[in-house]
């Protein structure tokens, strides 16, 4: 027989009832763990909220900027002044926005230029067309009553028709350029010989008005790979530009070919009044027409001649620049053809 006397145990109460030591410790640890986890979660939430707010600040700024751009406002920058990774993104966004703004302004400028072009072309076409109609009507009505007069009327009408054809050709060419439908047929060519042949042709044309062509440059090979037809157009455009805008009584075109490093260069100079320094940077822009274009000999220009020159030269991998030196000077530089390729 066993007699046991037991007091009410002296135990801590955990969860409303007294518990043995081990159970009380384990349960207390478990409960305190829960409390601690709760505290940690709460603390993390507070810290995370602060962090998220900081991280979202540039994101929100970008979102608002994107909405502004969507609404058409390209002038307000993102406005985030932080020094973290997002500052680079915001800077890139600002840069893109600035680029878009410039493009939009350029596009508006082009649009205006196109509108002006259409108006100009209408005018340019109407003027010779009216002349042609007038002279033909004069002949039909018997105004040109002598063979000399009839010959004169026919000659004027023919030249006016040629002007219209030239204008339409340039427009067609520009259209092909714009649509990228202008492949180059590159063949090995001696630039010196090519320019000399052009000079001979032009000499005959200028001689009628008292002008002349001067060819300079040491006789040497100037091998380049180029599309002869397109380069002929370049020279023709430069010649027409000089004829139209130089303003010289007796036009003198000086063509110089030389080699500079790995480039074959051509200098196309006239003895005209040149171009004002403010207008020089715009000379190769499409649809750009200087003040002199309005008062040129051949009526208004299309604003495409020098743009086409630049387009073709650059398509050949070359460069073109303009300056004043006793008249307007256009300098072209084309890549030399490699010796082995030439052979």
């Amino acid at each position: 027989m066993t007699l046991i006397a037991m007091p009410q145990p002296v135990m801590p109460e955990v969860l409303g009832r007294p518990r043995p030591q081990t159970e009380a410790v384990v349960l207390s640890l478990f409960l305190s763990g829960l409390v601690v986890i709760g505290m940690i979660v709460l603390l993390s939430l507070l810290l995370a909220r602060t962090q998220i707010r900081r991280i979202m600040r540039p994101v929100n700024a970008l979102t608002q900027a994107a909405r502004r751009v969507e609404a058409g406002d390209l002038s307000t920058p993102v406005g985030y002044g932080g020094q973290d990774e997002f500052s680079a993104v915001c800077a890139a966004f600002d840069h893109m926005q600035e680029h878009l703004r410039q493009e939009r302004e350029k596009s508006a400028s082009y649009e205006k230029a196109r509108t002006d072009l259409v108006a100009g072309i209408s005018h340019d076409l109407r003027t010779p067309l009216t002349s042609v109609k007038g002279y033909i009507k004069g002949m039909r009505d018997g105004v040109a009553n002598t063979p000399e007069k009839r010959e004169q009327y026919l000659d004027v009408a023919y030249r006016k028709a040629c002007d219209m054809e030239r204008l339409l050709q340039r427009l067609f060419y520009f259209s092909r350029m714009e649509t990228g439908n202008l492949p180059l047929n590159l063949v090995s060519t001696d630039l010196g010989e090519f320019v000399a042949r052009f000079a001979r042709e032009t000499q005959e044309e200028l001689a009628e008005t008292g002008g002349k062509v001067v060819l300079r440059g040491a006789p040497a090979a100037h091998p380049v790979r180029m599309d002869r037809e397109q380069m002929y157009r370049v020279l023709t455009n430069l010649k027409e530009n000089a004829l139209r805008y130089a303003g010289a009584e007796e036009l003198v075109l000086t063509l110089t070919v030389w080699r500079q490093g790995d480039r074959e260069c051509l200098r196309f100079a006239d003895n005209g009044r040149g171009v004002s320094p403010e207008q020089l940077p715009h000379l190769f822009e499409q649809f750009w027409r200087g003040d002199s274009a309005r008062s040129s000999k051949g009526g208004e220009g299309s604003g495409l001649g020098l743009y086409i020159v630049q387009y073709i030269v650059q398509a050949h991998g070359g460069t073109v620049q303009a300056k004043n030196d006793g008249g307007l000077v256009i300098e072209l530089a084309l890549p030399c053809e490699e010796e082995e390729e030439h052979e």
């Binding site: 007699l3 801590p12 030591q21």
Partner: protein, 132 residues
Amino acid sequence: MGMRRRIFLFYTLSLVLSLVVLLGVSSLVVQGVSRFYQERAVPAADERSAQAQEILGQWSESDRDWRTLDRELDRQGYQLLVEFNGRPLYSSLDQFQEEVYRRLSGRAAWPEEGTLVLQDQGMVMVGRRCGA
């Protein structure tokens, strides 16, 4: 401060803070429970168990008046359990005391003569064997 560094610091700080809080609170809990047993359980065993031990030791083996013994023990704040071959003959233990007794009785080896005070996990038991 870079965003990557900020996030890294945030997570590191959170981790360190969590560990510090967890360790701190656990230490406090363990320390608190230990102190509780040190302060309460040991003095209780010292003061009253001697009285219960004396009452139980003086109880005659032939006397089967468990109620009288229980009342005497009750004055010292003790309840009585009488077992014979593992079966209870008399018990004034409440349910919790019985539960604790079952948990601890396996580890108790009551002496053939005299009484023994057993203290385990804050529980105090005084026991003896008598008769056959």
